[in-house]
Symmetry: C2
Subunit: 216 residues, 2 copies
């Protein structure tokens, strides 16, 4: 509120709000939000506790900022990929496929804040508001699955609601293990997750170009 925008990022000792936020999110993900004290964060940054409160007015404000980043990114990505607007002729199934892949990319691009979002349980007003925004996004995804099912291009022996839960449960489970910088790029990950979701892990006759068996 009364901050002078901290436009001068040069020279001065100390941290800006953004750096404090990034570090806080990492700690929240390592130990959990409730188990991370402002003293932990201050120690990690090498400053005193009260220095933190120069940048934010409360610990919960850090949480709110992080959740907002994740929700904004997810919502706009899902809107772009799932809505009819951009490619009016495409089938719902094609849009579903694109949405799954795009969700993976967003999750990876905003891994820390999305991880935090997926662990929120609704313990405070801030958390409840985040859960509500998330519910809206989930409902939009479920609607897309229902449209694809109505087209007849999805298997009909599984309820669309179940498919939606399982597919995006798979996507969300990535936060438990995927770390960028490894051998698997975000784009490859998105493609392979989508491939597994749509085609399963069993061999499909006539799908494989019989690649040379190489040991890693």
């Amino acid at each position: 509120m009364t901050s002078q925008a901290t436009g001068s990022r040069r020279g001065r000792p100390g941290y800006d709000r953004e750096t404090v936020l990034r570090r806080a999110v990492d700690l929240f993900n390592e130990r959990g939000y409730d188990a991370t004290s402002t003293a932990d964060l201050a120690r990690d940054l090498g400053v005193s506790k009260s220095a933190i409160f120069h940048h934010v007015s409360s610990k919960e404000e850090l949480l709110a900022s992080a959740l907002d980043e994740a929700l904004t990114a997810l919502a706009s990505a899902v809107d772009a990929a799932a809505d009819d607007v951009r490619s009016p002729g495409s089938s719902a199934t094609d849009r579903l496929r694109a949405t799954v892949a795009e969700s993976v990319r967003i999750l990876v691009a905003h891994l820390p804040t999305v991880t935090l979002l997926l662990r929120v349980r609704g313990n405070s007003a801030v958390e409840q508001a985040a859960l509500e925004r998330r519910r809206v996004i989930d409902e939009k995804l479920a609607r897309l699955v229902r449209e694809a099912a109505a087209e007849g291009t999805l298997r009909t022996d599984l309820a669309p609601e179940l498919i939606s839960r399982l597919v995006f449960g798979t996507v969300n489970s990535l936060v438990e293990w995927y770390r960028p910088g490894g051998t698997l790029s975000p784009d490859d990950l998105a493609e392979q997750v989508t491939a597994l979701a749509f085609d399963g892990l069993a061999v499909r006759p006539g799908t494989l170009p019989a690649p040379p068996t190489v040991e890693p």
Copy 2:
């Protein structure tokens, strides 16, 4: 330790250790372990804080008991379904299929404690020990996937390690929404999760008996 086994479960007022544990696990899952105080638990049970410490020597002992239940159930289930012993002639792929389904059933049968287990981050010695036991189980599952891949009955364009992560990530994501008592029975859930994992959500030619389209 000094408890007199509380064999008399009849008549007496108050709670036994098992009841306190079940209630504690539910609260831990609703709000998170760290965010749940012993005062919260006492209020929920309608007793004073110190009454809790008559049954357990610490809050963490409740966590340890719950995690032990989940890990024991998961380990024995995975051992039974994944090992060669019981059905020596079966392929690794068949055993993988059975293991996925059995994992779902165990997860549902022990939903509260498994949920708690999947949220543990390693903040204490108790939590770290649980994570280590879980790692052993996960490695056994990954080995089974590698065996199935080596048989040639799994698609080869995805790394076995990725398949293992994604499939059991899907299974684990069930704790976020599945609640027993609804229209979907645990056995049906197990079957449908397995079907989706192996065959994907796209229509497979010649698979569908074209069921009558019924609105729910």
